[in-house]
Amino acid sequence: MLKFEKVTKIYFLETNKTPIVALSNVSFEIKEKEFVSIIGKSGAGKSTLLKLIAKEEEPTSGKIFFDGKDITHLNNSEIPLLRRQIGIIFQNPKFLQKRTVFENVKYVLEALGKKDEEIERDVPMVLEIVGLADKINSLPVELSAGEKQKLSIAQALIHRPKVVLADEPTGNLDPYNTLDIINLLLKINEMGTTVILATHNKEIVNRLKKRVIYLEKGKIIRDEDKGSFIL
């Protein structure tokens, strides 16, 4: 499903052009329907790795394959096509503040040109899955942190992506909400979607008992099928 082949990403500081190696010679493969946690300290390269998958960044060297297709260098018209197969969840999700929960999710499908009937059918369904059915007419400002993250998951799921990238989705949440979100991600994974979770939350990783890729200073130092948080 997803393959990194000797991928390196170097950023250059704008002030003095000093190179900063975010990822160095990283290779791994993620199979369809897998749940993979990417762990490491802040600055280890977790977010960069997810950005490379979502084509928000281009690798300095190496190759990236998605569904067997080389996505290392895509032109501007190909990137939206790739992103339609990816759902992205951030630590600080952004919403259209003047629109309701329903409209925020609906907006995604409208942008993708889905038919009105499809939107009316799918949006309540996904809000039911994430547990926001009773908040359908609420504005984002009226939601709690956990609910906001659920809305973000609903937005990421609504277009039925093949893979969900979650970048520290529980970073701002209390343990109860964290558990909720992780259970939701597991549920999504059970429904057949590949989930890649970037986190530095020890409890989450230990609880999941799923594959873990350890990153340190941009390099993979361990890749275990049923890993636990060891640093």
Partner: protein, 302 residues
Amino acid sequence: MLLSLKRICKLGWEGLIREKETILPTISVLFIATFLVGSFLVLKKTGEILVEKIKEKADIVIYLKKNTKEEDILKLRDSLLQIPGIKNVKYVSEKEALDEFLSLYGENPLYKESLEIIGENPLLPSLHISSFDIESYDQILNFLENTEFKDLIDHTSYPKTKLIIERIFSFVSKVEKIGMIIGITFFIIAVFVNFNTIHLAILNSREEIEIQRRVGASNWFIRGPFLFRGFIYGILAGILSFFMLFFCCWFFSNKLYDVLGGINIFSIFKEQWWQILLIQFGIGVLLAEISTFLALQNFLKF
């Protein structure tokens, strides 16, 4: 496709209402630009009509010696008609010239007495060259100096109109050049000013753009609502400047009537109104769309 277009228009309209504070500054700049273009069109047309009017009045009269044979005069007329640019040469015989003189001044006792004292028709036969192209003026002069009929010519009356026409041509050409320079300068300024106001509007919508990009909306779907807004800005500016020009032409037409030698600029506006309206719409929309397109580029980099 139709569904996307409908949604783009809907999002564009919602954005326009949401960012209504950007409407006034954006339209103001577009208004000035489109008004300038409209005024320039009316001015250009006025200049053209003015030149045509003066051209119509321009003529050269060749006075021939007394008792020149009509046969020779007609030969000279035919030769003149061979010169490219000359459309009409009228032969006025001595008798016709006298008749015309009498019809004009026959009642004047001084002229009447003078004619009686002379005792014969003092007027000369003549050839009147009218409605000729100003470009062929020099060719006519050259012909008259070198023609085999040179001896038949008593004198020639050269019009001052050549100088006037040349001055008008030069004025119109200068107005065109200056108008073009002002137009291009203002076009660039308008693009920059609009770029900033539209950039501000886009900044307010960056969440929307980010969500669209994240889920893989096409660049055209992201641009669409802003381009729709640009279209509305352009149309509004076009309508405003059209009515302002309408008012200006109506208001100044009487005041400028005599200055422009009997040209009514309001009539010119009425004759050309649809062309002016289309061009003003076109310029307004083009300006707004260029600014929008440029302002969006930074937000659509992947």
